[in-house]
């Protein structure tokens, strides 16, 4: 056991020289992913809800709106992510004033986040039994009340799991943000580990990522389970 610890110490000794850079990179990843999560909730949730409500056979069936949203979400999701980042540069510049840096990187990431999460929201809402909506209508619920007091309440564990899955994807997407100077853990691994042939830095970064993803998945699954009262 001691041997392993000693070996690890030696192996990673070099890594600790970069403590500041590593912390900074982790911070940048958190900023990018955090903004994307916010975008997913603030915009992705309503878009997904609209997709659900406007669907054929649903209460507010609206072919036109559904088609527009559906196609838009599909287009965004079919872009190779790097291309989307590049193509969005003018939009990014218009929104944050620059196309470089962590904040700028958060823009394309957020766009993907909205498209990605809205799909998962739509799927979660489709699992809510239609009868629940009927009960809501019989009680005189308004549309807003139906969404917040019935739909989201019944779908909350699915919505939570979806957000967990999304967050993990956002982390993965964020690793290529070095291309627009977004920084982050992935960028750090590429520049210090790959381009400078410092293998232990890559290893260390991968370990950080694994721990991060595992904890998010664990937390998300736990929350989803605690929120789910549909079965005993």
């Amino acid at each position: 056991m001691n041997d392993i610890i000693h070996y690890m110490n030696d192996y990673f000794a070099h890594v600790f020289q970069y403590q500041h850079e590593i912390w900074r990179a982790i911070g940048e990843t958190f900023i990018m992913v955090g903004i994307s999560i916010a975008a997913a909730i603030i915009l992705g949730l309503p878009v997904g809800t609209l997709l659900f409500l406007c669907r054929k056979g649903q209460q507010y069936e609206n072919r036109l709106l559904f088609s527009i949203l559906n196609v838009l979400v599909n287009i965004i999701r079919s872009f190779p992510f790097l291309l989307l980042v590049v193509i969005m540069i003018p939009v990014t510049r218009w929104i944050v004033g620059t196309s470089l840096g962590t904040l700028a990187a958060a823009v394309p990431l957020s766009v993907v986040a909205v498209a990605y999460y809205s799909r998962l929201v739509e799927q979660s809402l489709l699992e809510v039994p239609k009868e629940v909506m009927e009960a809501a209508a019989s009680m005189g619920a308004s549309t807003i009340q139906m969404i917040f007091k019935f739909l989201y309440v019944e779908a909350r564990s699915g919505l939570t799991l979806g957000l967990t899955t999304s967050t993990i994807s956002f982390i993965s997407y964020s690793t290529v943000m070095g291309i627009v100077g977004g920084g982050g853990v992935g960028d750090f691994a590429i520049r210090y580990g790959y381009q400078r042939f410092e293998e232990e830095i890559m290893t260390f970064t991968v370990i950080i990522m694994i721990i991060l993803v595992q904890s998010i998945q664990y937390g998300g699954s736990l929350a989803s389970r605690l929120l789910d009262k549909r079965k005993v």
Partner: protein, 254 residues
């Protein structure tokens, strides 16, 4: 008349699949009565019931409840009107991620009743349906009969004048069916709530209804006077003594 359907019709489907679910039905429901609607499955009885709170909008005809023509109301007014028309369903249709308390409190929240008033009303209703000790339970932890009691409590929370029941006992065993019918009868007697029950079970209708309408192929065949409790059905209520909290707690003061 509490409820009056006037020449209501409804078609479902389109093209060759098109069929007449309800065909020019006129039906009056007396205030304070328990009115049964019976028919085979697919006869259109549930559709007819759903027209009484406009969950199903008739293609033509008028629906009048409590002197208000529902078919003439706009969205907001209709929602208001629905608050005084309670409804329960075969599969209960509770919000499974809300507690018993939360479910009963729901219609009061929708009507924006202040919190303190809401709490005392929920308490009162739970006592009425005999589920005070289950307030913190989730629907998945309850038996079928208890779930239907929660649904009844939810329907009563807003003190409705009408209670629509769509196959309320069809997924319950005979014992629990008798219990639920007792509760419905009690609601009718003590709260003077007009009750409409859709069922395919003749014994349910015989047991409780003052009037019975027979529906077939979307048409009203006939309506007749029934004398509930006649014959063998009457002693049913006396057997309903098992199950914690199932039969007690009817001390209700409006």
């Amino acid at each position: 008349m509490m409820i009056s359907l006037q020449e209501v019709s409804k078609c479902f489907g389109s093209g060759t699949d098109r069929y007449q679910a309800i065909d020019a039905v006129s039906l009056d429901i007396k205030e304070g009565s328990i009115h049964g609607i019976i028919g085979t499955s697919g006869a259109g009885k549930s559709t007819l019931l759903r027209m009484m709170n406009l969950l199903e909008k008739p293609d033509s005809g008028k629906v009048i409840v409590n002197g208000q023509e529902l078919t003439a109301l706009g969205g907001r007014e209709l929602r208001e009107a629905r608050r005084s028309i309670g409804m329960i369903f075969q599969l209960f249709q509770l919000v499974s991620n809300r507690t018993v308390w939360g479910n009963v409190s729901m219609p009061l929240e929708l009507a924006k009743v202040p919190k303190a008033e809401r709490a005392s009303r929920v308490q009162q209703v739970l006592r009425f349906v005999g589920l005070e000790d289950k307030a913190k339970s989730y629907p998945a932890q309850l038996s079928g009969g208890q779930k239907q009691r929660v649904a009844i409590g939810r329907a009563l929370a807003n003190s409705p004048t009408v209670l629509l029941c769509d196959e309320p006992t069809s997924s319950l065993d005979p014992q629990t069916t008798a219990d639920i019918l007792d509760v419905l009868r009690h609601i009718n007697r003590t709260l003077r709530v007009t009750i409409v029950i859709v069922s395919h079970e003749m014994n349910v209708v015989n047991e409780i209804c003052d009037y019975v309408s027979v529906i077939d192929h979307g048409r009203l065949i006939r309506t007749y006077r029934n004398h509930p409790g006649d014959g063998e059905a009457a002693p049913m209520s006396e057997t309903s003594t098992d199950g914690a909290g199932e039969t007690r707690g009817f001390g209700y003061h409006e």
